[in-house]
Amino acid sequence: MIEATGLNKRYGSTVAVDGLTFSVPPGQVTGFLGPNGAGKSTTMRLILGLDAPTAGIVTVAGRLYRSLRRPLLTVGALLDARAVHGGRSARDHLLAIALSNGIARGRVRDVLELVGLQRVAGTRAGGFSLGMLQRLGIAAALLGDPPVLMFDEPVNGLDPDGVLWIRTLLKALAAEGRTVFLSSHLMSEMSQTADRLIIIGRGSLIAQGTLAEVLSSGSPATVRVRSPDAVQLGVLLDRRGAAVHTQPDGSLQITGTSAEHVGEIARAHGLALQELSIQQTSLEDRYMELTRDAVDYRSDEHRTEPVS
């Protein structure tokens, strides 16, 4: 369980995290989502006591991180997979971390096996690919068999096999009752892994809840109609209070009514329909919609309506 209350972090005049309040429950994978520069990594550093918050507090398992004497038995974290000494072997890298928290040496071999690095355990980490470094970082996070796990962008640089491996691992860890908190700037990745989402932009909370909650809080579903009598149908719907937009291809995008209702009106007036469908908002669209105003860097091309 991770709980943040009114978390605030300024670097000079830059506000990196602005009054964040959220909680990450155990037994689920919680995705921490936001555009680049939204404050995800800063928040994770605040959780780990690496940066001191300007205001607010964050606790892990009910305690301030800095008060933990053997923190790795409570929290395992992977912030930056590249943060290793290139001249040190994978085994010694893990051993140095394990020793600092009084974790038995045998555990190093176990986690190396768990992430599939046992054959390169004696190899210097400087020669590792990013994918291997991600595995090494995950091994380090698992050393203390902790109830809380945090990963910053864990699938970056992984091949499809590696991505699938991490997803399976994260879900399994959550199923064991652990708190799993992972950040990403990609909704597509989260929609396949996370049970819950916390979305931030420019340091502030935008939304939090289960996937379904985040999705349903968005703009209502639209109904799409293609009809040779589109103009007539449009006028009829408009009169009944629905918002009708004629698309360049002649089809209608209708909000404020249901597909059933559109169908009934068409039948009652003898109008032919070539297509009647519900356009469900995807998580990706919902994410774009939520973070539209919170993106620091975006190309102008992107500023127009997202292609769905």
């Binding site: 690496l50 800095r66 001249g87 140095a96 600092s100 009084g102 038995a104 555990r107 050393l143």
Partner: protein, 269 residues
């Protein structure tokens, strides 16, 4: 699968934690090649230069030089080079963690940052002290062994000789700690290395610009002069004496370490 040892968090005493962090830092120092290279370079420089000087120096000395020369100090001539290796080892013991980002892993494993720096200080000091003191003794003995002019020889029992030889190890250990302090305070390998070399090499050059009387008064207080006083068996008039000079050098190193301890606590990692 072996489960990690679980001792309830609050039951882990301070001494136990220090032991954990010491073994972790020992593992770190031992497991990078640079440590072995730096210490080997220090040994090679100490012993190698002593041997070279023993063979070639006597021929180059005038009778007057031979009467006044401090041969013990000459036998430790390798310190000029080995101090760079030891200082660099001290700098990199912490700055390499900052440049790679590993310091965040270290501080999330041990949130008590002063404990980390204290453990690094102890482990580095022990490793450097053992290796350099032994190599200074080896340097002295090889010098004596290869010296053909018997009347230039000294013995460890002569006044100040044992102190000077062991002092070579103390001096190199203090240089390593000065490097560690600078590395912790500055966080950058290049910046801390440049500062360390600057502190040792620049003051004598700057003093050349001063009037002679000022220069004479200030010279004993420069880090290199103060620190190396401990390896002399003949004191120049106006010098701080072997222990006074070395004490001042230790104060410089402690100042750098104190800056490291203060900044490491206050800064975001």
């Amino acid at each position: 699968m072996t489960a990690p040892v679980r001792v309830p968090d609050q039951h882990v005493g301070s001494l136990r934690r220090l032991g954990d962090v010491l073994s972790s830092e020992t593992c770190k120092l031992r497991s990078v090649r640079f440590t072995a290279w730096a210490l080997l370079a220090a040994i090679a420089s100490n012993v190698g230069l002593a041997a070279l000087l023993a063979v070639f120096l006597p021929g180059a000395l005038s009778p007057h030089d031979k009467a006044t020369i401090d041969t013990t100090r000459v036998s430790l001539g390798g310190l000029h080079l080995s101090q760079v290796a030891c200082g660099l080892l001290g700098v990199l013991a912490i700055s390499s963690e900052y440049t790679s980002g590993l310091i965040r892993t270290t501080f999330s494993a041990v949130p008590d940052r002063c404990l980390v720096l204290a453990a690094k200080t102890l482990v580095l000091a022990a490793a450097v002290a053992i290796v350099t003191t032994a190599s200074c003794l080896a340097a002295y003995f090889s010098f004596e062994l290869l010296l053909t002019e018997h009347h230039l020889r000294t013995s460890l029992a002569d006044p100040g000789v044992l102190r000077a030889v062991l002092g070579g190890g103390f001096y190199l250990t203090a240089v390593a700690l000065l490097g560690l302090g600078l590395g912790a305070a500055l966080r950058s390998s290049a910046g801390a290395t440049a500062t360390l070399l600057g502190l040792l090499l620049i003051p004598p050059l700057l003093l050349e610009l001063l009037p002679n009387s000022w220069k004479t008064a200030a010279t004993p207080y420069t880090p290199l002069q103060a620190g190396s006083a401990i390896v002399s068996t003949r004191q120049d008039p106006g010098s701080l004496g072997p222990w006074g000079g070395f004490g001042l050098f230790c104060a410089y190193a402690l100042l750098a370490l104190a800056a490291g301890f203060i900044l490491i606590r206050r800064r975001d990692a």
